[in-house]
Symmetry: C2
Subunit: 147 residues, 2 copies
């Protein structure tokens, strides 16, 4: 079994689309992470879901998590509005721009090694400059388990 | 909205069960991670799916990912057998034993801060010593997004 056979279609989000769209896609499809693609259709970043969750946390709470306890309900409900008008590329940290990518003929172990090294829930499968699909950690485990 | 309302039932795996069971649960339910519980029913560790993927990678490939390329197909198919006979607690790295946990009355922002700090796809909701359920990153995003 190779990466090309493991690859599945997966929702992707454009780097220039609204950051709220990325959050909405993750929520609606219950995704473990999302692939952000550039204008050329190539993946530019992988965002694990917990990283997107970080977008809704006010900066001062990220700096001092103890402050989360002093926010009242309405302040929490409003937090997500911080995302409005921001693009995906505005909220992606520098270090997430190294995309975990496999080649079509990579073995299960090669894909697993890429996933583990990037600590990523998904790996993109690229044939040259073409995105064939995405492999999730659960799909990889499914393929590698004995019947 | 508080943690208790966000918590969902979620498959858990016992620390003393077979490591293959954890991999199988993740694969079958397409989970972003899994909660490992001790004999007292309390969560002892959270394993992100990419961490479970790591279990199937031979030690020498973890140390030198370039070696993954030299493994042939049958060696890959056999890799999962390394898990046989091992318990979940045998394959959990030390650093994953700090469980991301929320209290029932924590706000969305507090849960998000816990998730971000632990870089975890799931957070356990504990009422004292009782496990109420689990909050996934996608569930949290769903609850925080505007309609």
């Amino acid at each position: 079994m190779h990466a090309a056979q493991l690859a599945e279609e997966f929702p992707v989000v454009a780097m220039d689309s609204d950051a709220l769209d990325a959050a909405r896609l993750l929520a609606e499809h219950r995704l473990p992470g999302i692939l952000a693609i550039g204008r050329d259709g190539l993946p530019e970043a992988v965002l694990p879901a917990y990283q997107v969750v970080r977008f809704i946390i006010p900066r001062y709470v990220q700096d001092d998590p103890a402050l989360a306890g002093v926010l009242d309900e309405s302040m929490c409900d409003k937090a997500v509005k911080r995302l409005r008008g921001k693009k995906v590329r505005d909220v992606i940290p520098e270090k997430y721009s190294d995309v975990p990518a496999a080649r079509p003929d990579d073995t299960i172990i090669e894909v697993a090694a890429i996933m583990a090294r990037h600590r990523s829930p998904i790996v993109a499968v690229l044939e040259g400059k073409k995105l064939l699909g995405v492999i999730t950690a659960s799909r990889l485990l499914e393929a590698s388990l004995p019947d």
